[in-house]
Symmetry: C2
Subunit: 203 residues, 2 copies
């Protein structure tokens, strides 16, 4: 069991390691990673040690091994079937973004309620009406969903999704969802990054 | 000087505290905040102690005071003028999202290169062509910019922006920017949240 703080850092380490892998780098030290992330080298070593990854003094960590290990840990060595609900500006930007490359996230269903969007194509997929969530979700085997609908529609969509088998939800609607305890739910708000940047504009 | 890890948590604490404030809650303990964030109460206390905020045993922290303090620290008691570059799906979704409510982030300039978007309206603003960045940025006093252009355009836009006075950039393009050391630059990739959620689908 990985602590939530460590877990939230793992995808970031993985990102960095994949970039090193692309450049052909075979080894990396905790202090090199630390520079990358403005984290302390000892924190990174503690994070990685949580699942038995120990760098060798003088050599560091083997990049390929660490990538494979983190991919396995995060379950990214498998394809995860996803649904996108709300195919407006944000939903379609997210859908396009995820359908690039060999990502582990494969969109298998998309939903909207707007007549202009329902029935339109997203790659090989057709956008369904949200009333079809109870049938389409089990049919496609989607386990993870992205919620990009207006705040007023979010709670109902969330409930329909989780009732039909969705086990994890990434929510973008600016509303505090009444959460289903059996479902892993995460809300994202980009403004948080702006607030972090604003700190550096204080002068 | 706040450590980067603490800094990245402050906007989250602020979010939670504002919600408590809306509900009329006057006090909160570190353990109540800890439950909210899956963080340890002692970590939260250490974070807040970094700027002299100490809860009172048995009473906790005063919510109003802490909101004001964090707003001040993060510079959110002021308006921050922003530019959005790239008014496609993502850029316009972000622009709309930020123009709601009394947010401390005020979009004062928007740019694109597409004939169908340049000249169109965003609230009171007109979308400029990106070639006007060198004039419009200093004119409007924008200090922070959101980059929502394709990867191929990102580096050039980043350089034009930072050359014309932008001091902080939030980048969404899937590219590793060659960074200007004088500019605070943050890249966002929402796939990171999906990877974090995927961990919970391992079974
Ligand atoms: N978290 C963030 O940082 C962030 C950033 C931008 C936007 N947002 C939020 O994301 C949401 C979408 O933003 P947008 O700019 O794409 O808005 P939009 O209006 O362009 O898109 C919303 C879409 O949802 C559809 N919809 C409405 N009810 C639905 C339902 N019951 N089922 C399925 N689809 C439904 C609409 O028809 C529309 O296509 C909004 O809630 C917005 O506030 C959040
Ligand atoms: N980081 C993430 O999580 C995430 C999520 C979704 C999309 N994205 C990325 O965000 C970017 C925008 O995505 P989108 O779906 O809105 O794409 P889009 O094609 O709808 O929008 C891109 C816009 O940028 C404009 N543009 C191109 N060159 C420009 C320039 N030099 N100056 C100003 N504008 C310019 C285009 O005319 C277009 O309007 C892409 O790079 C995409 O990969 C990132």
């Amino acid at each position: 069991e990985i602590s939530p703080l460590t877990l939230s850092r793992l995808p970031l380490y993985l990102r960095c390691l994949r970039q090193l892998q692309e450049k052909g780098t075979t080894h990396v030290s905790s202090s090199q990673l630390a520079q990358q992330f403005e984290l302390s080298a000892s924190l990174i070593r503690k994070d990685l040690a949580q699942f038995g990854e120990f760098g060798i003094r003088g050599t560091g960590y083997r990049v390929d091994e660490l990538v494979d290990r983190l991919n396995g840990l995060l379950g990214l060595d498998r394809i995860h079937k996803m649904a996108v609900v709300g195919m407006g500006s944000l939903g379609s930007a997210l859908a396009r973004y995820l359908s690039v490359n060999d990502r582990p996230f494969k969109i298998v269903a998309a939903f909207d309620v707007d007549g202009g969007r329902v029935g339109s194509k997203l790659g090989h997929l057709i956008v369904h009406h949200s009333r079809e969530i109870p049938e389409v979700i089990p049919e496609t085997g989607a386990r993870i969903a992205v919620l990009a609908v207006p705040a007023s529609a979010a709670q109902k969509c969330y409930e329909d999704l989780t009732d039909s088998g969705i086990e994890a939800v990434l929510n973008f609607a600016p509303i505090r969802l009444k959460r289903n305890p059996a479902v892993r739910t995460k809300s994202v708000d980009f403004q948080i990054y702006l607030e972090e940047l604003a700190y550096f504009l204080r002068s």
